[in-house]
């Protein structure tokens, strides 16, 4: 049975600075549990904008975002932070690791924030995630002591620490070379197939997109094919 975990209903967005432009027009789609979806489209068509709205970080839009059956409309800032913490994993083009903390602590941070498990258990789970991504040997290093590809994998591990409903990525392989992109893609594939993880990945790489379960294509702020 397919269960809808994320749904966009008539989502539109304007930017008002410097002039009012509509960057998203009546976006409707939904994602089921375990789906591996990619979003493609020309540069500037509104992919990132859409992803920020879906991730609840951007609240300035019209329409509805429904995550796990709940609309995000009437939630306050703290509630939305909680939703992001618990249900959404995010991977950006840039890794955004905190150099003050070890790789392991970076992965643990969202888990510690959630506070569902004990510190010991979170540490154990962080090791597991790092193991899935093949970088458990880097756990005790500082982020500035590992390679670019490894950094991105650490960021993925961090996104996974709370077993999110959905993992979102905004060109997560955009900064990586061919080989590292390949590794990251394989990881996503494995997560989808082995762990039944839902994924929504924005990409410029058509080859990458073709290998996902489903492609959402955008043009000028609209979805032209789902």
């Amino acid at each position: 049975m397919d269960q809808i975990i994320l749904e966009a209903k008539g989502v539109s967005k304007y930017f008002h600075d410097p002039i009012t432009v509509k960057v998203l027009t009546d976006v409707n789609f939904s994602i089921n549990r375990g789906d591996f979806v990619s979003v493609i489209g020309k540069s500037g068509c509104g992919k990132s904008t859409l992803l920020y709205i879906l991730s609840t970080m951007d609240t300035d839009y019209s329409g509805h975002i429904i995550i796990d059956g709940e609309t995000m409309r009437d939630k306050n800032e703290a509630d939305l932070a909680r939703v992001r913490n618990e249900k959404i994993g995010f991977v950006f083009q840039f890794h955004y690791l905190l150099n003050e903390f070890s790789v392991l602590k970076n992965v643990m941070l969202p888990g510690l924030k959630l506070g569902k498990y004990s510190v010991k258990e979170i540490e154990h789970r962080a090791y597991e995630k790092l193991k899935i991504l093949g970088i458990e040997s880097e756990a005790l290093k500082k982020p500035n002591q590992v390679s670019g590809g490894q950094k991105q994998r650490i960021a993925i591990a961090r996104a996974l620490i709370n077993d999110p409903l959905i993992l979102m990525g905004d060109e997560p392989t955009g900064n990586l070379d061919k080989k590292n992109s390949e590794i990251v893609f394989d990881i996503f594939k494995e997560l989808a197939e082995v762990y039944n993880q839902s994924l929504l990945i924005v990409t410029h790489d058509n080859e990458f997109a073709l290998r996902t379960d489903r492609i959402i294509e955008m043009e000028d702020g609209r979805i032209i094919s789902v």
């Binding site: 990132s48 920020y52 991730s55 970080m57 951007d58 800032e77 703290a78 932070a81 909680r82 992001r84 913490n85 618990e86 995010f90 950006f92 083009q93 840039f94 955004y96 690791l97 905190l98 150099n99 003050e100 903390f101 941070l109 969202p110 510690l112 924030k113 959630l114 506070g115 961090r158 996104a159 709370n162 905004d170």
Partner: protein, 419 residues
């Protein structure tokens, strides 16, 4: 759990910027050190100067003043009752300085619960005869024991033993300046003449030094008996009754009461020495303003470092928010940093402030004016430390407030888009 997490994040951010953190904390330390030291020192000084007056001055002094009577004969006349009478060339009436019935008054005062002690006194003008020169001055006839109990007389007797004044008949303790002028050594016999022309020889048994030049150059002490003999008066003759109270604040009120009750003149210490209180409060005010100014400057230091830190840590703040930390969490992380700087800087400041106070307390401070003081005065009042601690936390909190608020309002989308 959440709190501990936020604290640990604050700590890590702090450690990552250890140098700037230390500089900011040193700012707080410095200002708290100065604040505590300044207040302790100023307050010590105030106590010293107050003590100079309070220890040596009667809270209330009862005496007879020679002055014209308020009540002139014409006031008795019925026919001029409704007139306004101008009388010129009024002279003081012939009145003696003596306090009559002083034994009764003193017994009454001793029984008064509000009075902690009394000491009778005779003040009289004399001439010290040196060769053919007569130096004018004053002899205070005192009850040696009572004077010592109330005004720590022995502290001011720098040479000789104060009690000799009582035990040696016809003895005198000279002001140090006066002794130097008339070249009198301890054991010498000096001659004095009273205002009425009586001559008497007195034995010098000591010198005293009050710290006030005017007094030390002209005054001397003798026992009440000696002074009575000198004046040719009976054993009941005294001119002043000095009163010390349990609560000095009651002095003005009681002075009025006694003035009425005994039909004598009475002056209280507050009226006689109002300038000292003003000096004390101004000194206190100055120390507080300097201390608070230093703290505000330190506050700006903290404000700066936090702003810089937030500017540097934009990315970290953005990702914390993206992964589920709320604005409030971010706010607390930075407030935590500010308070850590404030608390550590403050505690160190209190310790150093104490150390510096102790050091000042050991610096020798010998002045002819203050014979009992050997080092700079310090008041170790715990209140200054409390105020310092509270101020350091309050200022750092406010210094951290605005930067932290700014951090909590950072929109992660803007940061992430910017990359």
């Amino acid at each position: 759990m959440n709190f501990r997490l936020l604290v640990s994040i604050s700590g890590s951010l702090l450690l990552a910027r250890l140098k700037q953190t230390i500089v900011a904390a040193v700012g707080v330390t410095f200002s708290i050190t100065m604040f505590v030291t300044l207040l302790s020192f100023m307050s010590g000084l105030n106590d010293l100067l107050d003590g100079l007056i309070v220890n040596r001055t009667a809270h209330i002094r009862l005496y007879n003043e020679i002055k014209p009577s308020d009540f002139q004969p014409i006031n008795l006349s019925a026919s001029f009752k409704s007139y306004h009478n101008f009388i010129s060339s009024v002279k003081p009436k012939k009145e003696r300085l003596q306090i009559y019935n002083n034994a009764v008054i003193m017994d009454f005062l001793k029984a008064d619960q509000r009075v902690s002690g009394i000491a009778p006194k005779i003040t009289t003008q004399v001439f010290y005869n040196v060769a053919s020169i007569d130096l004018s001055g004053v002899i205070n006839g005192i009850d040696v024991e009572a004077e010592n109990k109330l005004f720590l007389f022995q502290d001011y007797v720098t040479d000789g033993n104060y009690i000799d004044l009582k035990n040696t008949p016809n003895s005198i303790i000279l002001g140090k300046g006066l002794a130097a002028k008339i070249l009198a050594n301890i054991g010498d016999i000096i001659q004095i003449t009273t205002a009425k022309g009586e001559r008497m020889q007195l034995k010098v048994v000591g010198y005293f030094q009050s710290g006030l030049q005017d007094i030390d150059n002209a005054q001397s002490y003798a026992s009440i008996n000696t002074t009575q003999k000198l004046l040719g008066e009976s054993g009941t003759y005294i001119t002043d009754i000095q009163i010390k109270l349990k609560d000095i604040a009651l002095a003005p009120e009681l002075a009025k009461e006694y003035q009425k009750l005994f039909d004598l003149d009475a002056i209280d210490i507050q009226t006689a020495n109002s300038q000292f209180e003003t000096g004390s409060s101004v000194r206190t005010l100055i120390s507080y303003s300097v201390g608070i100014t230093l703290l505000i400057v330190a506050g700006f230091g903290i404000y700066n470092i936090l702003n810089m830190m937030i500017y540097e840590k934009m990315d970290s703040i953005a990702i914390l928010k993206a992964t589920g930390f709320s604005g409030k969490d971010v706010n607390q992380i930075f407030i935590g940093i500010a308070l850590t700087i404030g608390i550590f800087g403050g505690i160190l400041g209190l310790i150093l402030g104490f150390g510096l106070s102790v050091a000042i307390d050991h610096i020798p401070f010998n002045t002819a004016a203050l014979p009992t003081i050997k080092t700079y005065p310090i008041n170790y009042n715990p209140r200054f430390y409390m105020i310092g601690a509270v101020f350091s936390i309050v200022t750092t909190y406010f210094a951290g407030y605005f930067p932290s608020r700014k951090a909590s309002k950072i929109d992660p989308v803007i940061i992430i888009r910017g990359k």
